[in-house]
Symmetry: C2
Subunit: 244 residues, 2 copies
DNA sequence: AAGTGGTCTAGACCACTCC
DNA sequence: GAGTGGTCTAGACCACTTG
């Protein structure tokens, strides 16, 4: 069962700051109140305020200058599609200001092949759940995604699962698994015939591919995915803060 | 002038932890001493210790489990080429266990075109410094890189600069500029004829391209780069921790 | 029940920038 | 010199896992 946990003070403060930036209360290029003042205004300690700011700083939205003040990035609104928000395709698409819809192309249970048993550390032929999905941004297909989960993890019958949710939510809801970390190998490739058709591409137009493996807190692989990403239609932007 | 600044306690502790993991003092899959014990052993506060651990956690090398303990990722040594270490190609290549050498193909001063003046926010025709470099991993060419810096930033004559250093070091040394953050647009593309030749590729083999823009602490663009990345020869792996 | 990591506080001192 | 962000401490309480 999924219980909604109350948000921490830190994450609430983080949301407040994001909202103020988004709404223009803190305009692009402007200086924020000092950390002490902000902490006092919000009724939290300075340490908590700084903790809430870290993600905004690492995303490049806030630019702290020692001895001066903290400024809002002049280009906040140009850096909205970020690899950081990448744990959910839905998020990434909606961050780019477009509507995301998911088409489930197929879901099936198959025996694991060599690659599946290697990556997921299961016996060959063990049953796996395979789901194929297509993500649209404003009715335009942008991501063709295949995800694979060992059937052994499921706490209910695979046929009863709703595949239109993000993978992490799927794993939490139907498999009682929480993702601790994931690895993604990023490559460039010419699309397979199936991808050409589904994504409505030219066959000689290369696309980005992601090979993702998801691990739980016990360091076990719980799923992996193959994602074809139409980079011409949805920008993939990485923002990095250069600490010291 | 570049002054070497003394390291913070946090970064020293971070280095100690990395070293202990690398040397096997904390073996893959094993549990670390508790945070309180570690802090006491190293003579720092628990807050500082946790601060030192954050980067290791976000890279997926350490896996904290509330109520239990903190474990070393079983696969630490498989996640060595990470996008996080990506602020320096040299670092990235050496992290993959190979030797990095840099060939400077050309350096020249040219008038800015439309794209250069747009991205760098300078007047058209203003002089820019263009450097083309080729990065090798163990004698194999892996990255073809073009970087562009407005000549106005230089504090010495551009001809006197050593282009065999990482871009951030170059900017600090010769331009008195520090990078605060950067954006990278990641795309897939068929290589230009020049890239085919330099990187010794097949012309129908797609590669990863990065369009990077670097900003200083005043939020001004100070440089941009176009990088062609032979993803078949050097893996581009992103590791992400899934917080809460 | 004991021990672990997760969160939060109040206060201190430093390095730095601006006026 | 005044004010800012950067670092660090000591201590507290909570949520959680394990024995």
């Amino acid at each position: 069962m999924i219980l909604k946990r109350p948000q921490t003070i830190t994450s609430q403060v983080n949301s407040i700051l994001r909202k103020r930036i988004r709404d223009g209360a803190y305009a692009p290029g402007s200086k924020l109140p000092s950390e002490s003042d902000l902490a006092a205004e919000l009724g939290v300690s300075r340490a908590t305020l700084r903790q809430a700011m870290t993600s905004l700083v690492s995303e490049g939205m806030l630019l702290p200058r020692q001895g001066d003040g903290t400024y809002v990035n002049r280009r906040v609104f140009e850096i909205s599609t970020r690899l950081e928000s990448f744990w959910s395709f839905t998020h990434m698409i909606e961050n780019s200001g477009r509507k995301c819809t998911i088409h489930v192309l197929s879901t099936q249970v198959l025996p694991a092949g060599q690659r599946e048993s290697d990556v997921l550390e299961i016996a060959p032929e063990e049953p796996i759940y395979v789901m194929e999905r297509l993500f649209f941004a404003d009715e335009q297909p942008v991501i063709l995604s295949t995800n694979i989960i060992p059937v052994a993890f499921f706490s209910i019958a695979p046929e009863c699962c709703d595949a239109r949710v993000p993978l992490n939510v799927f794993l939490e809801t139907y498999c009682d698994q929480w993702i601790a970390y994931s690895t993604s190998d990023i490559r460039s490739a010419l699309p397979a015939p199936q991808a050409v058709e589904r994504l409505q591409l030219d066959s000689d137009e290369p696309l980005l591919t992601f090979f993702d493996v998801f691990y739980n807190r016990a360091d076990q692989p719980v799923a992996f995915g193959l994602n074809n990403y139409a980079d011409k239609r949805l920008n993939m932007r990485l923002v990095r803060a250069w600490g010291a």
